[in-house]
Amino acid sequence: MPQNQQLLYLFTGNSSPESNIVAWSLYDGVTGKPQKGCQEAGTEPPYESVLAAMHDGWRTIQVPVLEPARPGQEFDLDYLKFQFVLEKWETCDES
Protein backbone atom coordinates (compact mmCIF):
# COMPACT_ATOMS: atom_id res chain seq x y z
CA MET A 1 0.00 0.00 0.00
CA PRO A 2 1.42 3.43 -0.91
CA GLN A 3 1.95 5.96 1.82
CA ASN A 4 1.38 9.69 1.48
CA GLN A 5 2.83 12.50 3.56
CA GLN A 6 0.88 14.78 5.87
CA LEU A 7 2.55 17.99 6.98
CA LEU A 8 1.51 19.81 10.13
CA TYR A 9 2.91 23.28 10.76
CA LEU A 10 2.66 24.35 14.38
CA PHE A 11 3.56 27.90 15.41
CA THR A 12 4.21 28.24 19.11
CA GLY A 13 4.19 30.90 21.81
CA ASN A 14 7.92 30.48 22.46
CA SER A 15 10.76 28.24 21.28
CA SER A 16 9.81 25.27 23.47
CA PRO A 17 7.89 22.31 22.01
CA GLU A 18 5.92 22.42 25.25
CA SER A 19 4.62 25.96 24.67
CA ASN A 20 1.11 26.69 23.41
CA ILE A 21 0.01 26.71 19.77
CA VAL A 22 -0.67 30.18 18.34
CA ALA A 23 -1.23 29.17 14.71
CA TRP A 24 -1.27 26.03 12.60
CA SER A 25 -1.64 24.67 9.08
CA LEU A 26 -2.23 21.15 7.83
CA TYR A 27 -1.37 19.87 4.36
CA ASP A 28 -2.82 16.42 3.93
CA GLY A 29 -1.21 14.42 1.12
CA VAL A 30 -3.75 11.65 1.68
CA THR A 31 -6.86 13.66 0.80
CA GLY A 32 -5.04 16.29 -1.28
CA LYS A 33 -7.67 18.75 -0.02
CA PRO A 34 -7.62 21.64 2.43
CA GLN A 35 -8.08 20.57 6.05
CA LYS A 36 -11.50 20.88 7.64
CA GLY A 37 -11.67 24.19 9.48
CA CYS A 38 -9.03 25.79 7.26
CA GLN A 39 -9.28 29.58 7.69
CA GLU A 40 -12.35 29.21 9.90
CA ALA A 41 -12.32 31.55 12.85
CA GLY A 42 -13.01 29.90 16.18
CA THR A 43 -11.48 26.55 15.19
CA GLU A 44 -9.40 25.07 18.02
CA PRO A 45 -5.74 24.09 17.44
CA PRO A 46 -5.41 20.33 16.83
CA TYR A 47 -3.03 19.93 19.81
CA GLU A 48 -2.14 21.96 22.84
CA SER A 49 1.59 21.76 22.10
CA VAL A 50 4.14 20.27 19.72
CA LEU A 51 4.92 17.70 22.38
CA ALA A 52 1.25 16.60 22.46
CA ALA A 53 1.36 16.16 18.66
CA MET A 54 4.53 14.06 18.98
CA HIS A 55 2.76 11.95 21.57
CA ASP A 56 0.07 11.36 18.95
CA GLY A 57 2.60 10.00 16.48
CA TRP A 58 3.71 13.11 14.57
CA ARG A 59 7.45 13.24 13.77
CA THR A 60 9.12 16.63 14.09
CA ILE A 61 11.18 17.43 10.99
CA GLN A 62 11.93 21.12 11.57
CA VAL A 63 12.47 23.10 14.75
CA PRO A 64 12.78 26.89 15.08
CA VAL A 65 16.28 28.34 15.20
CA LEU A 66 16.89 31.20 17.60
CA GLU A 67 18.39 34.29 16.04
CA PRO A 68 19.47 37.44 17.85
CA ALA A 69 17.57 40.61 17.02
CA ARG A 70 19.53 42.85 14.67
CA PRO A 71 20.63 46.05 16.41
CA GLY A 72 17.93 48.68 15.97
CA GLN A 73 15.31 46.09 15.04
CA GLU A 74 14.66 44.63 18.48
CA PHE A 75 11.06 45.86 18.50
CA ASP A 76 10.15 45.19 14.90
CA LEU A 77 7.46 42.57 14.32
CA ASP A 78 7.03 40.49 11.21
CA TYR A 79 6.46 36.74 10.80
CA LEU A 80 5.49 34.25 13.49
CA LYS A 81 8.76 33.48 15.20
CA PHE A 82 8.56 29.82 16.23
CA GLN A 83 7.69 27.35 13.49
CA PHE A 84 7.75 23.59 13.97
CA VAL A 85 7.06 21.28 11.04
CA LEU A 86 5.84 17.75 11.73
CA GLU A 87 5.00 14.87 9.45
CA LYS A 88 3.09 11.63 9.34
CA TRP A 89 2.98 9.03 6.60
CA GLU A 90 -0.43 7.53 6.11
CA THR A 91 -1.58 4.67 3.97
CA CYS A 92 -3.92 5.72 1.21
CA ASP A 93 -6.07 3.76 -1.20
CA GLU A 94 -4.41 2.75 -4.44
CA SER A 95 -7.47 3.67 -6.47
Binding site: A23, L77, F82
Partner: protein, 270 residues
Protein backbone atom coordinates in the same frame (compact mmCIF):
# COMPACT_ATOMS: atom_id res chain seq x y z
CA UNK B 1 -15.60 69.64 9.37
CA UNK B 2 -17.72 66.89 10.86
CA UNK B 3 -19.64 67.67 14.05
CA UNK B 4 -18.02 66.12 17.13
CA UNK B 5 -20.80 63.60 17.56
CA UNK B 6 -19.85 61.93 14.28
CA UNK B 7 -16.13 61.70 15.02
CA UNK B 8 -14.57 58.68 16.70
CA UNK B 9 -14.18 58.80 20.46
CA UNK B 10 -10.80 58.33 22.12
CA UNK B 11 -11.91 54.86 23.16
CA UNK B 12 -12.76 53.90 19.59
CA UNK B 13 -9.47 55.37 18.40
CA UNK B 14 -7.58 53.41 21.07
CA UNK B 15 -9.32 50.25 19.90
CA UNK B 16 -8.27 50.99 16.34
CA UNK B 17 -4.68 51.60 17.49
CA UNK B 18 -4.61 48.29 19.33
CA UNK B 19 -6.60 45.92 17.11
CA UNK B 20 -6.09 47.63 13.75
CA UNK B 21 -9.76 47.86 12.79
CA UNK B 22 -13.21 49.08 13.81
CA UNK B 23 -16.61 47.69 12.93
CA UNK B 24 -19.87 49.61 12.53
CA UNK B 25 -22.93 47.42 12.12
CA UNK B 26 -25.82 48.40 9.83
CA UNK B 27 -24.57 51.94 9.44
CA UNK B 28 -25.82 52.46 5.88
CA UNK B 29 -29.59 52.32 5.22
CA UNK B 30 -30.79 49.27 3.34
CA UNK B 31 -32.32 51.14 0.40
CA UNK B 32 -28.97 52.77 -0.34
CA UNK B 33 -27.29 49.35 0.02
CA UNK B 34 -29.72 47.94 -2.55
CA UNK B 35 -29.05 50.76 -5.01
CA UNK B 36 -25.32 50.24 -4.59
CA UNK B 37 -25.61 46.47 -5.11
CA UNK B 38 -27.34 47.16 -8.44
CA UNK B 39 -24.44 49.40 -9.45
CA UNK B 40 -21.95 46.69 -8.46
CA UNK B 41 -23.89 44.05 -10.42
CA UNK B 42 -24.04 46.19 -13.53
CA UNK B 43 -20.32 47.00 -13.34
CA UNK B 44 -21.20 50.68 -13.13
CA UNK B 45 -18.66 51.43 -10.42
CA UNK B 46 -15.80 49.32 -11.74
CA UNK B 47 -13.99 52.29 -13.27
CA UNK B 48 -11.36 53.85 -11.04
CA UNK B 49 -10.43 57.48 -10.73
CA UNK B 50 -6.69 58.11 -11.03
CA UNK B 51 -4.87 57.29 -7.78
CA UNK B 52 -4.19 60.54 -5.96
CA UNK B 53 -7.47 62.23 -6.89
CA UNK B 54 -8.92 64.26 -4.00
CA UNK B 55 -11.45 61.86 -2.48
CA UNK B 56 -14.28 64.39 -2.47
CA UNK B 57 -14.12 64.56 -6.28
CA UNK B 58 -14.76 60.89 -7.04
CA UNK B 59 -18.11 59.21 -7.82
CA UNK B 60 -20.14 62.44 -8.01
CA UNK B 61 -23.88 61.75 -8.29
CA UNK B 62 -23.58 57.98 -7.65
CA UNK B 63 -25.02 55.88 -4.79
CA UNK B 64 -21.47 54.96 -3.67
CA UNK B 65 -20.84 58.68 -3.08
CA UNK B 66 -23.88 58.75 -0.77
CA UNK B 67 -22.37 55.90 1.27
CA UNK B 68 -19.15 57.81 1.87
CA UNK B 69 -21.01 61.10 2.35
CA UNK B 70 -22.99 59.52 5.22
CA UNK B 71 -22.30 61.88 8.16
CA UNK B 72 -20.95 59.13 10.42
CA UNK B 73 -18.73 57.72 7.66
CA UNK B 74 -17.37 61.25 7.08
CA UNK B 75 -16.64 61.46 10.80
CA UNK B 76 -14.83 58.12 10.74
CA UNK B 77 -12.73 59.16 7.75
CA UNK B 78 -11.90 62.52 9.27
CA UNK B 79 -10.90 60.93 12.60
CA UNK B 80 -8.49 58.50 10.97
CA UNK B 81 -7.01 60.27 7.95
CA UNK B 82 -8.15 63.86 8.42
CA UNK B 83 -10.03 66.23 6.14
CA UNK B 84 -9.70 65.96 2.36
CA UNK B 85 -7.91 62.63 2.09
CA UNK B 86 -6.58 61.29 -1.18
CA UNK B 87 -8.36 58.52 -3.10
CA UNK B 88 -6.05 55.54 -3.64
CA UNK B 89 -8.24 52.90 -5.28
CA UNK B 90 -11.47 50.98 -4.87
CA UNK B 91 -12.66 47.55 -5.88
CA UNK B 92 -16.10 45.95 -5.79
CA UNK B 93 -15.48 42.30 -4.85
CA UNK B 94 -18.11 39.85 -6.09
CA UNK B 95 -17.64 36.27 -4.87
CA UNK B 96 -19.78 33.47 -6.27
CA UNK B 97 -20.25 30.05 -4.74
CA UNK B 98 -17.20 27.80 -4.68
CA UNK B 99 -13.64 28.73 -5.46
CA UNK B 100 -10.82 28.86 -2.96
CA UNK B 101 -9.84 30.88 0.06
CA UNK B 102 -7.37 33.65 -0.65
CA UNK B 103 -4.09 33.16 1.17
CA UNK B 104 -3.81 35.27 4.30
CA UNK B 105 -1.97 38.43 3.27
CA UNK B 106 -1.33 42.09 3.91
CA UNK B 107 -2.30 44.28 0.96
CA UNK B 108 0.11 45.83 -1.49
CA UNK B 109 3.72 46.29 -0.46
CA UNK B 110 5.76 46.56 2.71
CA UNK B 111 4.63 49.75 4.43
CA UNK B 112 7.37 50.79 6.87
CA UNK B 113 5.71 53.97 8.11
CA UNK B 114 5.65 54.14 11.92
CA UNK B 115 3.03 56.84 12.49
CA UNK B 116 1.24 57.66 9.24
CA UNK B 117 -1.02 55.02 7.78
CA UNK B 118 -3.64 54.46 5.09
CA UNK B 119 -7.10 53.14 5.80
CA UNK B 120 -9.16 50.63 3.96
CA UNK B 121 -12.92 50.34 4.08
CA UNK B 122 -14.74 47.05 3.66
CA UNK B 123 -18.38 47.85 3.06
CA UNK B 124 -20.94 45.04 2.89
CA UNK B 125 -24.08 46.16 1.00
CA UNK B 126 -25.84 42.82 1.61
CA UNK B 127 -26.20 40.43 4.54
CA UNK B 128 -23.24 38.07 4.92
CA UNK B 129 -23.98 34.76 6.64
CA UNK B 130 -21.12 32.61 8.02
CA UNK B 131 -21.39 30.11 5.13
CA UNK B 132 -20.92 32.98 2.66
CA UNK B 133 -17.34 33.14 3.91
CA UNK B 134 -16.93 36.84 4.71
CA UNK B 135 -13.52 38.47 5.02
CA UNK B 136 -11.12 36.88 7.50
CA UNK B 137 -8.95 39.27 9.47
CA UNK B 138 -6.28 38.92 12.13
CA UNK B 139 -6.72 41.46 14.95
CA UNK B 140 -3.50 43.04 16.18
CA UNK B 141 -1.49 42.20 13.03
CA UNK B 142 -1.01 45.77 11.77
CA UNK B 143 2.48 46.16 13.29
CA UNK B 144 3.68 42.87 11.84
CA UNK B 145 5.22 44.08 8.63
CA UNK B 146 5.05 41.35 6.07
CA UNK B 147 5.20 41.17 2.35
CA UNK B 148 1.78 40.41 0.88
CA UNK B 149 1.05 36.65 0.78
CA UNK B 150 4.42 35.55 2.18
CA UNK B 151 2.29 34.72 5.22
CA UNK B 152 0.18 32.38 3.07
CA UNK B 153 1.55 29.43 5.07
CA UNK B 154 -0.64 30.46 8.04
CA UNK B 155 -4.04 28.82 7.67
CA UNK B 156 -5.36 29.27 11.17
CA UNK B 157 -4.27 31.87 13.69
CA UNK B 158 -5.68 31.80 17.21
CA UNK B 159 -7.90 34.88 17.64
CA UNK B 160 -8.57 35.52 13.95
CA UNK B 161 -12.09 36.68 13.12
CA UNK B 162 -14.28 36.38 10.08
CA UNK B 163 -16.91 38.84 9.06
CA UNK B 164 -20.56 37.98 9.03
CA UNK B 165 -23.26 40.55 9.60
CA UNK B 166 -26.08 42.64 8.25
CA UNK B 167 -26.23 44.74 5.12
CA UNK B 168 -24.88 48.25 5.61
CA UNK B 169 -22.04 47.18 7.91
CA UNK B 170 -18.68 48.85 7.52
CA UNK B 171 -15.24 47.73 8.65
CA UNK B 172 -12.41 50.21 8.57
CA UNK B 173 -8.86 48.93 8.84
CA UNK B 174 -5.26 49.96 9.10
CA UNK B 175 -3.97 48.82 5.70
CA UNK B 176 -1.23 46.66 7.27
CA UNK B 177 -3.81 44.33 8.83
CA UNK B 178 -3.57 40.67 7.73
CA UNK B 179 -6.72 39.36 6.06
CA UNK B 180 -8.10 37.10 3.35
CA UNK B 181 -11.22 36.70 1.27
CA UNK B 182 -12.76 33.33 2.01
CA UNK B 183 -14.41 30.72 -0.16
CA UNK B 184 -18.17 31.17 -0.49
CA UNK B 185 -19.92 27.91 0.47
CA UNK B 186 -23.45 29.27 0.05
CA UNK B 187 -25.69 29.72 -2.98
CA UNK B 188 -25.72 33.49 -2.47
CA UNK B 189 -23.35 35.93 -4.09
CA UNK B 190 -21.14 37.83 -1.64
CA UNK B 191 -20.49 41.55 -2.15
CA UNK B 192 -17.77 43.58 -0.53
CA UNK B 193 -16.84 47.07 -1.60
CA UNK B 194 -13.26 48.05 -0.82
CA UNK B 195 -11.83 51.57 -0.70
CA UNK B 196 -8.33 52.73 0.23
CA UNK B 197 -7.64 56.30 1.30
CA UNK B 198 -4.37 58.16 1.98
CA UNK B 199 -4.00 60.91 4.60
CA UNK B 200 -2.90 64.40 3.55
CA UNK B 201 -2.29 65.72 7.08
CA UNK B 202 -0.53 64.46 10.20
CA UNK B 203 -2.85 61.87 11.75
CA UNK B 204 -2.76 63.43 15.18
CA UNK B 205 -5.67 64.28 17.47
CA UNK B 206 -8.12 64.27 14.57
CA UNK B 207 -10.89 62.50 16.51
CA UNK B 208 -13.18 63.83 19.26
CA UNK B 209 -10.60 64.23 22.01
CA UNK B 210 -12.99 65.36 24.75
CA UNK B 211 -12.29 62.10 26.61
CA UNK B 212 -8.54 61.98 25.91
CA UNK B 213 -7.47 61.94 29.55
CA UNK B 214 -10.15 59.58 30.76
CA UNK B 215 -8.45 56.34 31.93
CA UNK B 216 -11.27 54.16 30.62
CA UNK B 217 -10.87 55.64 27.14
CA UNK B 218 -7.32 54.40 26.95
CA UNK B 219 -8.08 50.91 28.31
CA UNK B 220 -8.20 49.28 24.82
CA UNK B 221 -4.50 50.10 24.41
CA UNK B 222 -3.62 47.39 26.95
CA UNK B 223 -5.05 44.44 25.03
CA UNK B 224 -3.08 41.86 23.10
CA UNK B 225 -3.96 38.79 21.08
CA UNK B 226 -3.52 35.12 21.95
CA UNK B 227 -1.41 34.59 18.83
CA UNK B 228 1.16 37.19 19.94
CA UNK B 229 2.63 34.58 22.33
CA UNK B 230 5.90 35.53 23.97
CA UNK B 231 6.11 38.65 21.74
CA UNK B 232 3.05 40.33 23.26
CA UNK B 233 5.15 42.91 25.09
CA UNK B 234 6.88 43.92 21.87
CA UNK B 235 3.40 44.35 20.44
CA UNK B 236 2.37 46.59 23.36
CA UNK B 237 5.50 48.68 22.83
CA UNK B 238 4.45 49.14 19.22
CA UNK B 239 0.97 50.17 20.37
CA UNK B 240 2.51 52.72 22.76
CA UNK B 241 4.73 54.12 20.00
CA UNK B 242 1.72 54.39 17.66
CA UNK B 243 -0.30 56.19 20.35
CA UNK B 244 2.60 58.57 20.97
CA UNK B 245 2.21 59.60 17.35
CA UNK B 246 -1.60 59.66 17.23
CA UNK B 247 -1.91 61.68 20.44
CA UNK B 248 1.19 63.80 19.67
CA UNK B 249 2.52 62.92 23.10
CA UNK B 250 6.07 61.47 22.92
CA UNK B 251 6.00 60.87 26.67
CA UNK B 252 3.06 58.42 26.48
CA UNK B 253 4.39 55.18 28.00
CA UNK B 254 1.94 53.85 30.60
CA UNK B 255 3.75 50.55 31.17
CA UNK B 256 7.19 52.19 31.33
CA UNK B 257 8.57 49.86 28.61
CA UNK B 258 10.23 52.58 26.56
CA UNK B 259 11.18 54.80 29.50
CA UNK B 260 13.12 51.98 31.11
CA UNK B 261 15.27 51.06 28.12
CA UNK B 262 15.81 54.62 26.94
CA UNK B 263 17.27 55.55 30.33
CA UNK B 264 20.96 56.25 29.73
CA UNK B 265 21.82 58.85 32.37
CA UNK B 266 24.31 61.53 31.37
CA UNK B 267 24.85 62.87 34.86
CA UNK B 268 28.01 61.93 36.72
CA UNK B 269 27.65 60.96 40.36
CA UNK B 270 28.97 63.55 42.73
Amino acid sequence: MSPKKNLLTTKEMAQFANQGFLRFDELIPRDLCDRLSKDIDSGKIDGRAPAGTPFNEVWQGQPIREVFDHPRVCGIIESLVGPNPRYDHHYPHITQKGGKHQFIHADAEFDPRVGAFDIQFSFFPQDVTPDMGGTLFVPGSHFHRVHESQVGIYQNIVGMQQFSGKAGTILVWHTNLWHSGRRNDSDNTRYMFKLRLNPMVKQQLLWNTDDLHDADSLSPLKGHQPWHGQQHRVFLMNVARFWQYLSNDPSFDPEFWWSRIENEPKATAT
